[in-house]
Amino acid sequence: MAGTQYRGSEITDVDQFVTDTEGLDSKREKEIGQHIGYRYDVNLVPDYKRITPFLTKYMETMGWDDLNWLEDIHMGYEDGAPAVFDRNNNGWVSIPDTIELPDNQQDRDMIARELLIKFQMSDRHPLVLLRKAYMKF
């Protein structure tokens, strides 16, 4: 994980935030005595060699030549569990236990992007109900 950073401290192990839920890592966390909500490298740019067939198909459908807004999507860790932040409902969505996590953050990010797209486009996304309730017909 060389070069991957979390709020100023280098991430040495991809499972760091799963196995050590209480640990305080960055200098800032040690100062305030608690870890900070989202735990991943927000500035990590995607490695396009690791893109999945689903994401390639999504890009084609949208007419994009790259991941576009998904470049900002990463697999984070909340309370020791892998999760993805969904901006459309302003909350974390958990990764089920049945999904095996790859041994590197880039592949995990690709899985996060795929799951988030499927969820956001599904009828069970909270935005569907909110839209029905509040949209202007």
Partner: protein, 289 residues
């Protein structure tokens, strides 16, 4: 609430809709709702409510005699009719054109836009064969916007995702309060570029004015030219091989890759001296519905 049909909802007031959909019957106090992905979710690429548009179905819309509101309504009506490529003729610097488009679309403006052009978009690919005024693509969520010439101030204000490109130079406060996405400037950028940036990436091929990255909280600024001065808490960082690959790929995509490559680019990040409000975050991240 399956018994409530869309037709029923259309006859109701907003208050009645909210009640009919059961959004007032739950006890909310002290309840945190955890949502989990379904690994067997259906493969779908667009929002359930998005109109079915075809990129090969093309039309032109002359907005010379229309107000901005009329023009935007016409664009929506054409999308409902399945047009996936729409060419706008004679925009003549009108303000707020092409705003609020929330699905895939190829939108081409043959001319220049005024203030707040193509704001609040989530998905379309927009080409503007002219200039743009203040706050182009403000609050953009996804998609791409390519401006062939110069742009005004606050280019990409509060952008959250997608690619926003000006092939010319831009004014001051570019990407103010940027929360994601990529802003690319082929020429120079003015003072206070990246002011209060929170995340995302900014690529400046030319020079930057005073106070670049002032008060940035996170995110990355790549700059190929000279910096007049760095802002408070903006500091240089090491350009990694992954950064170089990403920069090369992105700039090639928009025909902006310099002849000498990207090795000369500087990388600017937050110095982390202004992180004073982190201790409020953990409680904010719990979703409560």
């Amino acid at each position: 609430m399956a018994s409530v049909t869309d037709a029923d909802l259309k006859t109701m007031t907003q208050e009645e809709r909210v009640t009919a959909l059961g959004m007032r019957t739950d006890q909310l106090t002290g309840r945190a709702m955890r949502i989990e992905f379904n690994p067997d979710e259906e493969e779908r690429f667009e929002y359930p409510w998005a109109p079915d548009v075809d990129f090969n179905k093309r039309t032109e819309l002359d907005v010379d005699e229309m107000t901005s509101t009329e023009a935007n309504r016409q664009i929506r009506a054409l999308m409902e009719d399945g047009y996936g490529t729409i060419v706008i003729k004679n925009p003549r610097g009108k303000h707020s054109l092409g705003v609020g488009i929330l699905t895939r679309l190829r939108l081409i403006f043959e001319g220049s836009l005024g203030y707040f052009g193509v704001g609040l978009i989530d998905g379309p690919n927009v080409t503007i064969n002219g200039r743009v005024g203040w706050s182009c693509a403000e609050n953009m969520m996804a998609g791409s916007v390519v401006v062939e010439k110069n742009a005004g101030s606050t280019f990409g204000a509060a952008i959250r995702g997608g690619d926003l490109v000006s092939k010319g130079s831009v004014g001051s406060r570019t990407g103010i309060d940027q929360k994601g996405g990529t802003i690319i400037v082929g020429g120079d950028t003015g003072a206070l570029t990246g002011f209060m940036m929170q995340r995302g990436r900014m690529v400046i091929c030319g020079n930057a004015g005073k106070n670049l990255g002032d008060s940035m909280y996170d995110g990355t600024i790549y700059i190929g030219g000279e910096i007049k001065s760095l802002g408070v808490d903006a500091v240089p960082s090491e350009l990694t091989d992954l950064d170089k690959d990403w920069l090369t790929r992105k700039l090639t995509l928009y025909g902006l890759l310099p002849e000498r490559g990207v090795d000369h680019f500087q990388k600017i990040v937050a110095g982390r001296q202004l992180w004073n409000y982190d201790n409020l975050e953990p409680s904010e991240k719990k979703i409560i519905l």
